[in-house]
Structure formats: C-alpha cells, structure tokens
C-alpha cells in the first residue's frame, strides 16, 4: 500500500500540485486528462509494487495547480512542459533517468508530446484511452487531414455552454446530464458500473476544481464560415486539443525507440472511430443542426488514427502491446482496476528489464 503525499512544485513557471508516493527505483509518471486530476490515479497508485515510485501532477488549471493560461497554439506543449517541470523539479527523478510515462485521454496526448519533445527519456509509454494523435474532432482520415483549414467544428466553441456553466457554479449534483457527476457516471465509466460513493464524491470535487474561463477550460473561440459556425481560438484546454494546433503524429518516431502499452475500452463513447462527442456524429444523429453530410464533415477515425501512428513506430523498431477491455468505457484503471494494474505491472516490469 503506497500512501500518496501531496506537495507543490514551484520552479519555474506555474505552481503545480503533485501527488507522489513510493521509494523504488522504477519511476512512473501518471498524467491525467481533461476534466480530471492526479487524484483519479489514487486507486491505481495505492497498490503498485514497492519497487515503484509514482508521481502524478495536476496539470495547470486542474485540481490544485495554478490556473496559468494555456497557449493553445502550442497544442499540448504547455502541459508537456508542466510534466517536464515536475519531473525536473520534484527532486524525485535522478538526472537523466528514463521515466515510465502513463497518460490517460488528453493526458496520453500530453505524454506523446513530452516523448516527442524529450527524445530518449521515456523508459516506456502507456496510453490509456488516448486522445488521437491528431487531436479531437475535425480530421477526416488516417493521416489526420483537417476537415476545414480553420479547424471549424473543433475547440472550445463546440463545448456545451450548460456544461461550462455547471462547472463554473460548482454543481455537484446529478440533476443534469451535463453535470460533472453525470459525466463521470455516464461517459468516464460504463453504466451501470459505479465508483464507491466516497470515491465518486471525491472525484466530482476534483472535476469541479477545474479553472473555467477563456484561458483554461474550455478556452476562447472564433466565428467560422464553415459548419457549425465556430472555430478554435488561441487559448484554453479544448483548443489545445484541436487538430488545428495538436499534431502528435511524430510520436511514431518516439514509439520506434521505446515500448508502448495501448489500453482502451471497447465501449468508450468519447474516444472512438465514431465518438459520441464528435460533431460529425452528433450532426448525423440530428443533435447539432445543419450537418453538411459525411463527405463534407466525416466522423474522425480516432482509434484507427492511433493505430496507424503506432504501426509506423513498430515498423521502425518500436514495440507495442495493445489491449482491449470489454465491458469498459473510457477509464479502464477505474472500471477494472485490478486487471489494469496487473497488465501495467507486467508491461512496465518487462520494459524496465528490456534495453532500448
């Protein structure tokens, strides 16, 4: 049982909150996704091998970290810099020691960005329900070709105004499908699976700690002549995931020099070849009016894009372990914790023993 300690890393840049535990030689960095925090890894981190040292930051604008603005034109670069600062500043990782990186959802995108920006530092990479390497929405094919050149139909302007308002007002109830609790129950997890009440309450509070505004969640937006009439602005979390700015396809080169574990839930509604949050799918279902049809605005093949980038990494010498969790949505580490933990431990142990 590893008790996690909470502390802050202050040098330099935004003040970042970190959960860390364990004293072993195998250093594992856990990176959360959008509308979540390091705390989402607490159940996983509580039962990892004693030879591991775990470090999980709250990214800027999430949890207890400072709400420094997100420069979306750098894609996920600001967040990857946060991870780098934590690893360098937390006095945990000896200089130059490779780290096992794990990212969940948008956090997997952050980890891919980090691995691209810091070649040779990833002892292994674990991508859990990863954001497509071509970002979220608005690309039409396996090579991530933009649907519209201004990124219309992606970014902060596509986020439900009600969701933003309920986050801002701190709505911890399950009164609306757009409340944090409902999102956690119905999108992060596959119903009828529920977290224990105490954990659910804690994680709802974590989601509600998100900094809401143009500089953070979701960000600013611009008008567009293309459907649905909005394009990404230049700041904030959701714009940082827009394919206009987020291109992680170079991860294939990073993956060619390390080993990658890819974990996904078969019933994931958010990251899928037909995501229920992709405006193309919502348009096709009639939930967003005026959809111009599959030729003009097709669904983004998110899972297939991830696969294509990993296959390129393999062809250049990388190792990939792929896994599909059935009866599982977006959060295998919360939905099937013991099974996820065993797979992760097997993978990281093998990666630590291998030479790359």
């Amino acid at each position: 049982m590893t008790a996690l300690q909470s502390f802050f890393v202050t040098t330099p840049g935004p003040r970042l909150h970190v959960l860390a535990g364990g004293e072993g030689a195998t250093v594992v960095c856990l990176v959360h996704g959008n509308l979540s925090t390091a705390r989402f890894f607490e159940p996983l981190a509580a039962d990892l091998p004693p030879s591991w040292r775990v470090i999980a930051p709250d990214l800027r604008g999430f949890g207890r970290s400072e709400a420094a603005p997100v420069n979306a034109t750098r894609g996920l670069g600001d967040f990857a810099d946060d991870v780098a600062r934590v690893l360098a500043g937390a006095d945990i990782v000896p200089d130059g020691q490779p780290v096992h990186l794990l990212g969940w959802s948008m956090g997997a995108g952050v980890v891919m960005r980090y691995a691209i920006d810091h070649p040779g530092t990833a002892a292994s990479v674990t991508l859990v329900s990863p954001l497509s390497p071509f970002g979220f929405g608005g690309t039409r094919d396996l090579s991530g070709t933009l649907t519209y050149e201004d990124g219309a139909g992606t970014g902060a302007g596509t986020v439900s105004a009600e969701l933003v308002e309920r986050l801002r007002s701190g709505d911890a109830s399950d009164a609306s499908p757009m409340s944090a609790r409902s999102l956690l129950r119905n999108l992060y997890l596959k119903p009828p699976y529920r977290l224990a009440a105490e954990l659910e309450d804690a994680l709802v509070d974590e989601i509600l700690a998100t900094a809401v505004g143009e500089a953070n969640y979701p960000g600013d937006h611009l008008p567009s002549g293309h459907w649905p009439g909005v394009a990404p602005g230049t700041t904030g979390v959701v714009n940082a995931m827009s394919p206009l700015y987020c291109d992680l396809s170079d991860f294939s080169a990073a993956a060619s020099r390390t080993c990658t574990l890819w974990v996904r839930g078969r019933d994931d509604q958010m990251v899928a070849d037909r995501s229920m949050l992709d405006l193309a799918v919502l348009g096709e279902l009639g939930l967003v009016p005026g959809w111009p049809g599959p030729a003009a605005f097709p669904a983004q093949p998110m899972v297939s894009q991830m696969r294509a980038v990993l296959r390129r990494g393999e062809q250049q010498g990388g190792k990939v372990v792929e896994s599909v969790f059935t009866n599982c949505s977006h959060s295998p580490h919360l939905e099937q914790p013991e099974r996820f933990r065993q797979l992760l431990v097997s993978f990281v142990s093998a990666a630590a023993a291998a030479r790359w």
Binding site: E314, V321, V324, F325, T326
Partner: protein, 285 residues
C-alpha cells in the same frame, strides 16, 4: 449454440508412421494452419475458426493423440508434434503459409517456425510460452496438472479444468459457454493416456532457439486473466521476437479465442493481411 467448422476437405498425413488427420475449411485465400492445445482437436476452435476461414483457407489439425489422428504411446514431444504439422503441409502441398497455435499449439508453432522459418510467412501465438528460461515459469497448478498429479478422468474434473481456463467473469456470466466446452470435451472422448502423452510435451518444452533470431512477423495474444499460462509470456514473446506485437483482451482467460472470438479474429486478420514493404514488392502490389 456454438457453430463449429463444417465438414470440408479432410486428409491424412503421415509422420514417422503416425497418421495425422486434418481438415481444410474456407473457400479461398491464403493458407493458415491452426494448431491446437492440450486436449483439443480440430473442432476445439469453435466460431473463431469460422471467422478466420471467411477469407482464408484454414487447415485444422488433429494433433497426435486426439480426434482422427493416431494415438501412439507417449510421452510426446513438441519436436514430434512440429514434425506432424510439417507433414500436413507436405501432404497438402503447401510451400509456405501462416500459422496460428494456442497454448501447447503455440509451442508447436514456435518450434515449426524455429525449424522451418522459410515455410512460415506470419505467425500468431495465443496463450503461448517459449518455456523457461526465455519465458516465465508455469503456474504451480499447471505444473501439477501437466505432471499428472491431477487425474482428468471424469466430467466434474473436466468442468473444473475448463472453468479454470476461462476468466472467472466468463464462468460467472456465461454458463452456456462452459456447458458447450464440457460437451465438446465429452464428444472428443480423448483417452486419458493420450491426454497424458500430450501433457508431457507441454511440461517438457523449452524453445532451444533464441527468440531474438526469429524474424517471422508475429502477433502474440493473451487473455489478461489467463491462470494456466502466465500472460507475462505474451509480453516476453513480443519483446524478444524482433518483429512482434502483443495483443491482450480483457477480461479473458486461457481460452480467450472462445471468450472473445470476434476481437481476436479481427486482430488476427489485421496481422495476417498487413504486408511489409518487402512483401508488398514481392507480390507485385
């Protein structure tokens, strides 16, 4: 009910005087040979084989000791069983092919590929191990079983073994699948001596060839909840073989191809249909 491969062209190969029965299903496409594990004959693949045969000619082999193959006195060895598979290839006139093996059949598959790399285009290993030291140790329960400390001579023992080869969740939620596998066990009616002869091959297996020297493109598959062979072997295989990837399905056990046949068939088709630039050049594509 579960659909099993229908009657197709059947044949009988000979290896060292032992008759090895096989059957070909699937109308056309590249050759794929399926080699089964301990206690399973050609019908032991269930719907998985049918899904693979939709775009391939699939050869289902009865290992020595089961089905319509001879049951010579044992113990058998993986070397012998690999020779049996090669005899089937020769009998059909297959020069090179893809091969897929599960459990003991995975050991046989590794051995066929190690001995005849020029005849194997791509390989799929399910719930396999190269044996120690390249692989992880067998779980104690499996060792006891293979060494004959557990007697497999009645239906309740068979049911227990089958349940142990599935994920606990599968046993709890899909009793009809357990019943189907028990029925299959009863229909196969393998003689206890033949089972022990096959078990000895599993227990004694060590791949002598170094995995790092085997260049055959490989997909290594396991169920996360496999209690019969440690799924860590699948990661070890994927990491040590130069051109290999691992694929896990969760939750599933040793018989993951019975538990999630669609997921596995999709992964196998993708692996076998992929072609390296060199292969694409050779085929003129």
């Amino acid at each position: 009910m579960v659909t099993c491969p229908g009657a197709g062209a059947a044949g009988l190969a000979r290896h060292d005087g032992v008759a090895i029965a096989y059957q070909v299903i699937g109308p056309s496409g590249p050759w794929l040979v399926l080699v089964h594990g301990l206690g399973y004959g050609r019908r032991g693949w269930g719907p998985f084989a049918t899904m693979l045969a939709n775009s391939r000619r699939v050869v289902l082999v009865d290992n020595r000791g089961i089905g319509d193959s001879d049951c010579p006195p044992g113990p058998y060895s993986v070397d012998q069983m690999a020779g049996d598979v090669v005899a089937v290839l020769d009998d059909i006139g297959i020069g090179s092919c893809d091969i897929l093996g599960a459990s003991l059949g995975g050991m046989v598959t590794l051995q066929v590929t190690a001995a005849h790399p020029e005849r194997i285009r791509r390989m799929v290993l399910i719930a396999a191990t190269p044996g120690e030291p390249q692989g992880a140790p067998m779980p104690d329960n499996t060792t006891a079983l293979l060494r004959g400390h557990v007697r497999v001579n009645n239906e309740s023992t068979a049911r227990k073994l089958i349940e142990g080869a599935l994920a606990a969740q599968t046993v709890a939620t899909r009793p009809e699948l357990v019943d189907c596998l028990v029925d299959l066990h009863n229909e196969q009616d393998q003689a206890p001596e033949a089972w022990r002869s096959q078990a000895a091959a599993s227990a004694g297996f060590t791949l002598r060839r170094t995995l790092r020297t085997m260049a055959t493109p490989t997909l290594a598959i396991a169920g996360t909840d496999d209690a019969v062979i440690d799924p860590a072997n699948t990661i070890a295989l994927a990491f040590a073989l130069p051109d290999a990837r691992a694929f896990f399905v969760a939750p599933a056990g040793h018989l993951c191809f019975w538990e999630e046949p669609e997921l596995l068939a999709e992964a196998v088709h993708e692996h076998l249909d992929a072609s390296r630039p060199a292969e694409a050049g050779e085929s003129g594509a």
